[in-house]
Every structure is written in C-alpha cells, then in structure tokens.
C-alpha cells in the first residue's frame, strides 16, 4: 500500500464547493471545502500514475464581485503532498499541471484567445485551482526512480559532491587490515 498525505491551502466564499481526489481513474473521495489535510492509502502497481485533484462544483455564488470586479474568490491549492513520507514539495510544479474546463468558462477562454492568441490546453507549473478545473500530478513507482529524475546538482557544483566511493574503499581496507594486523 502506498501512503498519501495531501496538504491544502484554501479560501471559501459562499456555499462550499467540492473537491474530488482520485488516483488514475479511481475516485478516492469527494468532500466539501474547506480542507487542510487529507490522508489515504492505496494499492498501486509499479509504473506511471496520476493523482488528480478536481475543483468540481464551483458556482458563480463562490465569487464576490462589485461592478464586475472580482473582490473575493473561492480557491484551493495543493500546498504539499507526501507519498510514503517523502514530500513532493520540490516537484509538485514540475510534475504537475492544471486542466481547466473551458466549456464551463467560455469567458476566460475568450480572454485567453484575445490576450494570448490561444487557449492553453493545460496550465503548466500550477497547483492553483479557482476555476472548474483539475490538478494532475504525474508520478511513477518505484518512487526512488521517479524522484531521481528531479534531483540534480548544478553542474558548476558537481565537483564538490559525491566523490566516487572507490576513492574511499582502498583507504578503508588498508586501515581495517592495519587494525586487524
């Protein structure tokens, strides 16, 4: 069983909308905001998977507007996540993206078309959900291999790290033999 813990920031205005949490095509839970922490366990085979967090029932009443200007909004953001006690903080952006339901938000799609020239299929490097949208985090098991993709030392610093262990081995053997001798 893989253990998951999710940590959220959120703000709710009006009737509480739901968030839905799922792994691949399986819905784990659906609950009303606000939520700050949710933990669950799920059996997963090795290989690629998707964790999905969906702000699935946001309504116009979840926004306060004055003269069309947004004053207060309802939103949820995945602040952090751990899988088997390993926090994903440093890779939540890099391995995650947000998909917005453009059919539900045609005015926003129009804004993108007019201002950016195109409507994005996904919003990369985001964990912020304030539209009817879904955050998708793609990972794979074994976790170690997946995380290694995101662990790197800047090339300028490489020489200061991780001296080949072989350099130590001969010295250690010599000393161990000396102590035994």
């Amino acid at each position: 069983m893989a253990k998951f813990e999710l940590f959220f920031d959120c703000s709710v205005v009006g009737p509480a909308p739901n968030i839905r949490i799922g792994i691949d095509d399986h819905v784990i839970t659906e609950m009303a905001l606000p939520v700050s922490h949710y933990a669950f366990e799920y059996e997963l085979p090795a290989g690629p998977h998707k964790l999905c967090i969906e702000l699935c029932s946001k309504l116009p009443q979840n926004e306060i507007r004055e003269n069309g200007q947004l004053i207060q909004d309802t939103w949820v953001q995945l602040k952090n996540m751990s899988i088997d006690s390993s926090m994903m903080n440093h890779i939540l952006h890099d391995a995650g993206h947000v998909k917005i339901d453009w059919d539900y938000h045609p005015d926003v799609a129009t804004w993108f078309q007019e201002n950016r020239g195109e409507v994005p299929v996904i919003m990369p490097k985001s964990k912020y959900l304030n539209l009817k949208s879904q955050y998708v985090f793609e990972f794979k098991l074994p976790l170690r291999e997946f995380m290694d993709q995101y662990h790197f030392i800047d090339p300028s610093y490489q020489k200061f790290y991780n001296v080949p262990l072989a350099k130590y081995s001969a010295l250690k053997q010599k000393l161990v033999n000396g102590l035994q001798g």
Binding site: M87, R144, F160, Y168, K172, L179
Partner: protein, 468 residues
Amino acid sequence: MAPALLQAIARDMGCGTGFTDINLDFHHRFETNGNIFRNWCELGGELSDQDQQDLHEFIATLDISAICAAEVVGISVFSKHSQPFTTWFLQHYRSKMSGVVVVGGAGVSMGDYGARLREQGLVDHYVINEGEVSWRAILAGNTRHPGVDSVGPGLLDFEDVPVPDYSNFKLEQYLNSQVHGVTIGVEGSRGCVRNCTFCDIRSFWEKYKYKDGRRLAQELIHLREVYQVEHFFFNDSLVNGSDKAFRDFCSTLAEYNATAEKPIAWSGYYIIKSAITYKDRDWVALKNSGVKSLYIGIESGSESVRNHMKKKFSNTDIDHAMKQIQLHGIRCTWLLIIGYPTETEQDFEQTLELLRRYQPMAMDRTIDTVALGMTMGILPGSPLEELKQELNITSIIPGHIDGGVTWKNHNSDFQTRIIRRIRAEEEIRALGYNSWVGDNDVVAFFEKKLQDIVENRITDDDIAEYHG
C-alpha cells in the same frame, strides 16, 4: 565580504576606493594546478621553479597599478589557505607598493601570521579580530589605535557595521552566483548564542551581537535593488540566534516578497531550537521570506554526544523542526561531526540510525546534502582544548602538545575516526543523500595525515578548520 565592508567605511570617510579580488583570479587560473592549489596552498608544500614562473606570469596578467599607487592597501586574508600566496605576493611585489600596507581577516590571526609579516617588513600594520574600528583609525592616520598591531577591544555596537559596498566586485563571476544567480555574502550577527565545545567562535567573539531584524531585512532589500542581487548567503554562525530579530527579519522579507516582481532568496546557517520556540506562523514567515537553503549543525545522532557538545537540542527537537522544514518545502544541509571525543561505537551507530530514519527526507531533497567533514579536529580556542585532560586526549605523536585531527583517547584514534567517516560516507550514499566535500580532497588529506603519523611529523594542516 570583508573588503565590501572596508570599502564602505573608506567611502564613508571620503576616500576614493578600488577593489580587486586576486583570490578569484587565482582560483580561475590555478584551480586545476594540483601543486599550487592543493599542495602549496592547502597542505603547505613547496613551490617548484615552474610554479614560481607560473605565479609571476599570472601576476603579469593582472593590472596591479592601482595597488602599487594607492595610499593605503588593505589585504584581506581569508583563511590559513590564503597565507602562502599572500606571503609570496608580498615578498615579490611589496617593494612596488608606495603606500601603507595593512593585512586583516581571519587568516591573519592564525599562527600570529600578521605579526610575522610585520616582523619581516612585508606589511606596515596588521589588524586582528574585528577590523571596522581599526580600519577607520588607520585611514585617519592613527596607527597607535588599540586593535592596530595588537588585539583590539572589538566592536562595541554592532549597529555601527555599515551596509557593505560591493562596487567594483565582479559578482557574476563567483561560483555561488553561477549556481544561484547573483549572490553576495551578508551578515546579521557575529558570535553565537551557544558555546559548543568543538567550536572556536568564542575566541573571536565573546558575546553574540546582532542587527535589528527589520533593519537587516531592509539592508537586503537595498542591496537587492542596488546590485540586482538574486540570492544572499549569510556568513553568520547562525541566522536565528535572536528569535525576535529572526521573526522580524522573516516577516519583513515575507511582506516584501509578497508583492516583489523578483522575490529575495537567501541561505544561511540555522540552529535547531526547542520544539516550542517557533509557532506555525513563524515557519510560514520563514518560507515566505525566501529561504532557499538552511545549513544545520546536527553534529551527531547521539543525544549523549550532543549534550556534551552543549548543542542544547534533543532528537525530538530535530524531529519537530525537520517536519516543519519538510512541510514548508525548505531545503537543508546537515552538518555532522564524526569522532567527537566522547563518541563511542554505539554513539556512532546512533548517527547512522538517524540518517536511516530520515531517508524519506533524502529522497524528497528536504535534506539536500549531508556534510561529513574531515573528522573531529580540536580547534585552538575551543572549549575542548580545555577539556583535553578530562577527556584523556593526547597527541598520537608522542610529546606533541597539539592534538589537531590526529589526537587519540579511549574512544577513538585517527584511524578509527577515518574508518567511521568512510562508513558514514557509504551509508549516506546508499541512502540517497548527496555528500558535500567542498574543494577538499578528503582522501588525500587523510593519507597525508596518516603518513605524518608514521613519520612522527606534525604539519600546519593538522587542524581541521571546518567541517563541511
């Protein structure tokens, strides 16, 4: 950073200034020259005729006309490793300098280096310990001021330290800048709130002194805007000596970062405090202040060892702090000491066990790196020096009074400590931590020291200047 402070003081006194970092040029030129860079500078070896020629050719590539013409030349000697080149440079080029030559910096205090240079006629004056007041006196022509060519009274009011002046610095050329974006060193305090037995900081600064947290944050904001600094590195022994100042610093920077187009990022040394010291809002402010990486002296997995060190935090305190650090997505480097004089095999095993327990944080890079250092060195001026008799510490070389790294007692000798050091290296690498050695050739250092023992020889490098 010291030259930036000296420059700020000189300008404050109405002097024109210039700055050149020969150390940076030296590093670029000789980094791959093993004999000059490693054997001569670090291990105290000899220069060959070819090395001498290379050094002169190197100087010929520099424009030292301003140094030769200046009324006052201040040379900052960073550490013991800077001494060989400083001596060589002065021996060959002092005669070309028409002004007063002054040396200062941590390297000047080591082995009476400054006094020896003066005796040899290579410098006019030397400054040891804090140089702000003495430097002002020298520039004003008052060379009889306490602190010039003698141990001074130190800086009474830390608020007198000026904002460093980084004009003329080639900031983008420093290695830290290449990795983190334009980076400069800053300081918010001197000294330490602890008196850890292995550390010599109290011999430099008896009392801990610090800047007001809000003022310090404003200083960073000013430097960010003047020099387009992207990342600050704190040279302080610890950034959280004063909890109030630290809270003020973090909250002020967090406020700035909330609306800044380019938020400030910083890194520095941090000490674990009792679990009740910081509230959730403090951790949030720390994260939002732009902290990039914290360097934490964990030292040992054994509470018994840490208690003897007077680190004053428990394993529970470590667990609490690390959980918060992880939750808020802050990276850190753990600094460990292998072979503390009270460290038994069981204590060492507890260190390995701590590393195993924290493996998830190695995987998610909360603990980005572990620095194991060069094994326990007994520093002159550290409390351990006074405890030698109590801890049965003797030199492994008969009759020699200086323990350095080659000391022994009933718990370990140098060979045992090297074996533990290598075992710890193997463990952290297997667990997935990064291992930092800096520009030290650890194995070459160990082999040289072992050879010194065989030949009953103590050399200047028999002091581990740092761990990590």
